[in-house]
Amino acid sequence: MVVITTKKPDEEVFEALENYNIKKLTLVSCATCAALCQTGGTEGAKEWKDKLEGKGYEIEAVVVSEDVCDNRVMKKDLRKVDDEVKSSDAILTLSCGLGVQSIVEVLANKYPEKPVLVTNNTEFIGMTERIGRFYKRCQACGDCLLNYTGGVCPIATCAKGLMNGPCGGMVDGKCEVGNYERDCGWILIFNRLKAIGRLDLFTKLRDARDWSDSGHQQEVIFR
């Protein structure tokens, strides 16, 4: 499982830095998911360091971390460069949105005044075919239907996330969204259920999803 990220346009990142009037920075780069997406890791950190220095920014420290999204790891890694963080105007993070918010939380008490910015857009939880080819196949919806849909998720693969598809926008197994180039999620489900001899599951009328738990920040607490 990888949290898939893509690079924001450089101008957008520089605009954010200017907006906060940043001169000195600590870079934190993710060596796991973002490295795989080529939006972080050691190379990404070097690339941003060069770009920033080329525009006159001062880089106080570069931290390449395996687990930017793990509060415990970030606490430890940032402690090692505490002086540099202290003298930085902001942290620039080469990670997904989790990484940014992990750092915000870790620094909240000691450096509440320091902005934490990000170079990437977070796209989705991705399945990897190979480097550079990632697909959204799960929406992390919290109520998995895969046991009944032939192992193909309608929430993530149907453009409309329908519980009872296909819709009228399906033509020859393809989806209206994206000019009939991508497979209709519900036809993928139909084909899978047919292959495993369980079309009875396809005939089942499914209720609308229950969103009653969606109105708060989600968390999993088991100890």
Binding site: L162, G165, P166, G168, E176, V177, W186
Partner: protein, 312 residues
Amino acid sequence: MESNHAYSKLGEALAKGDFILTGELEPEKTCDLSHLVHEAKEMAPYVIAANVTDSPLGIVTINSLAASYIVQRDAGLEAIWQMTVRDVNKLGIAGMLMGAQALGIHNILSLTGDHPNMGDMPESKPVFDLDSATLVKLVREMVDTGKINGHEIEAPPKIHVGAAANPNAEPMEAEVLKIGRKAEAGAEFIQTQVVYDLDRTIEFLTAIRKYNVPVLLGIFPMKSYGIAKGFDTFVPGVSVPKDILAKWKGIKTDLKTDKKLQKEAYDQANYEFFKPFITELRKKKLLDGIHCMAVHYPRIFPKLEEVIKSTN
């Protein structure tokens, strides 16, 4: 249909088993519905009700519930309010269903709706909280039980709900099974996508007959060669047969100097194409009515009435 009550003329006709003719009205991007009302008045003597579309292709138009109300009020034509689940969540739709009742709207066609991505406001959030089957179920829950989520509705809506089917869908088996779900949800009638292929239509209608839901066949008489060509080119999954296109092209070229004759020729060509088509399906007892989707072509209705009478 579990309910024996009829809340509208369409509901009465369905209950009686009458052969039904419905039309279609397509509101545009305007707050002035005088053109729509004019068209509604023209078709009113021939149809029992007309669908009022809900921003088809995701291209925003005036709200279909408002337009349905105006059509009923100003043209005296019963509306089949098309409601897509694209733009409003379950809570919003439940409120709209009560609103529809208060406005005297008693028919709804439940549709998924074209994705906003395809239309002229692609930045809109696609909602799809319900789908076309669960909307049918919601309507039936509110109408039949007078409750929603177990909570009593003081004066509940009395609305007949229909669903769509696409005989052109491939793989057909998936579409057929989907219609089974819509029937289970409580759909009281089916209106199909436009068809031109008789064999395929027979195969599909035969397959869904077991669900025991009255079927209104979607047809699209073509007002001109331009319309026929456009339909063939731009409507995904539906192709107009080549011989039809050739015939219509012939009418366009041969009669270009006499518009009156040309109009009559188009109308007659439609009559000649659809009469045997409908006759065959009625003979096989696969049809309960016709849903004519040819918008802006109300003069075709007398011909369609003739077709229906001759196939009775």
